[in-house]
Amino acid sequence: MSDSLRTHAVDLHGSFYDAAGVAAAVEAYAELARITVQPTGAGLRVELVVLDDEVDDLMDHFLNHALHASVSLQRRQADGVAG
């Protein structure tokens, strides 16, 4: 692993980011970063090693993707329960 690779870590609370949403983001960004996800007491800890230095704000993009997937999933589940 090159020393120039940027590493980011973030704790995501389970009330906002669910495991399926984060998994969807991990799959989407697998080619741009090496991503590991570990459960914590309140949610998930995500460590992201950026593989392409030319991509800026990769963690921010990842978090947007994870939040979008999480909210979409929660809404589908709510609609399913309601329906």
Partner: protein, 147 residues
Amino acid sequence: MSSESSAAELQIFDFVSDGRSVRLRLDEGLYPLDAIRGAAYLFLDRCFVRLERLEDRLVDVTLKSKGPTDDEALGALAGEFCNALLDQAVRVQVAASSGKIREYIMARAFFSAPAQSSIDQLLAELDAEELAADDLEIQVPWEQGGA
């Protein structure tokens, strides 16, 4: 996403800026979780959004610009987020307050016996009219056939 600021303390709807992002601290007792999530969802295409839980009922929302920006634009972004948050809070409240009524209307529409009996009643009336017409013994063209 760092949001270092000289601001000592945040108040509701006050925000701090580090030149690229703004951070708001929200009380979940005032703004339901669904409203916070809904407002954040609406802003995903405009900026980077990060939600963090500080304490049991305190939520930090960080909005980070996707490109070059300035404090004025960040302030406007924070204001628009607050408006969206209020809109979402009202939607959540209306949905909760009218939920029982919606369920009742749906249940009545699908499962109510009077609705079925009214359809049966209409069919019976139609049958009765046809029978009454037969009583006149008037032959209608479509019954004449080739005879």
